[in-house]
Amino acid sequence: MPVKASSIKVGDVHEEVVCNDLSRTQIVQYAGTSGDYNPLHTDEVFATKIAGYPTAFAHGMLTMGMTGKMLTNWLGDGRLTKFGVRFVSQVFPGDTLTAKATVKEIRQENGGPVVDLELSTVNQEGKEVVTGQASARLDP
């Protein structure tokens, strides 16, 4: 279900709730698939007593992955050409995240339309946890 260039315009916002009440188990799942077993993310004793954090927190890359899900659900499979993020705040167990994309520009590249997006993923308090940019191929 790729998006047609004519169906979107600069300033349009698309958003999706990409996780609801993030569980510690999902963080464990992500550690297992990504291979990043940093105990900061899954080991409450280590995260609090050794590292000095209030609780274990999610991998930044898990939030990027969930933000990517919003993009592929909206723009279609295999359409992304660029995707980049900054991790601005930590994501903790229990967080509910909404990923948003704002259309900045629609332009031509290699003979086809491409959209440039600004990204912002926020938690249940509206606090930004990830910001970023993405570009994707559209249908003419």
Binding site: M61, L62, K82, V85
Partner: protein, 169 residues
């Protein structure tokens, strides 16, 4: 983290998609995937990060027969701070954290691809942070090549080492 051989496998893609809560059938159902534009299973956009699984020296995976720095009987399983790890991977109070990640897709990955990667350091810089003291940033650029030596993904990663744990607002 350069990796010599990262075989992209269907089962790994399915598990990875589950772990980011992505129910898209293109990540696990071959018959469904045949009818999509890519024409087969592909990997989600951040899957390439799982190349860490295939890096024999990756510092954030327990190694058989070696002490691990997470908790066991004691809050930390090792008395030795993990100082010999690359800056970006160091964990602990005043630790290494991931600051940015950027991907450029030349094509999307599919099961059967066998990747290798080459990494080079990028820029490094410092600034005073509001919530974690002095911040030291370092960038690394990783290029992933497929079995035909075609560049498939260019990744730019920024790690940050903080002076102290990040304060919560």
């Amino acid at each position: 983290m350069p990796v010599e051989r990262f075989p992209v496998e269907a089962g790994h893609i399915m598990l990875f998609a589950r772990s980011v809560g992505d129910a898209n059938q293109i990540y696990y159902d071959e018959n469904y995937a045949k009818g999509t534009e890519p024409g087969g299973i592909i990997a989600p956009p951040t899957f390439v990060q799982a190349s860490a699984q295939f890096d024999p020296d990756y510092g954030l995976r327990p190694k058989i027969g070696q002490k691990w720095f997470g908790s066991g009987a004691n809050p930390t399983g090792s008395n030795v701070p993990p100082v010999d790890e690359p800056e970006q991977q160091r964990a602990g109070g005043g630790s290494g954290l991931h600051a940015e990640q950027h991907y450029e897709y030349h094509r999307h990955l599919k099961p059967g691809d066998v990747l290798r990667s080459v990494s080079r350091p990028g820029e490094s810089w410092e600034r005073e942070g509001r919530r974690a003291g002095k911040l030291i940033f370092s960038e690394s650029i990783t290029e992933y090549y497929d079995q035909n030596n075609e560049l498939v993904i260019t990744a730019r990663s920024v790690g940050v080492r903080t002076e102290r744990p990040v304060q919560q607002d």
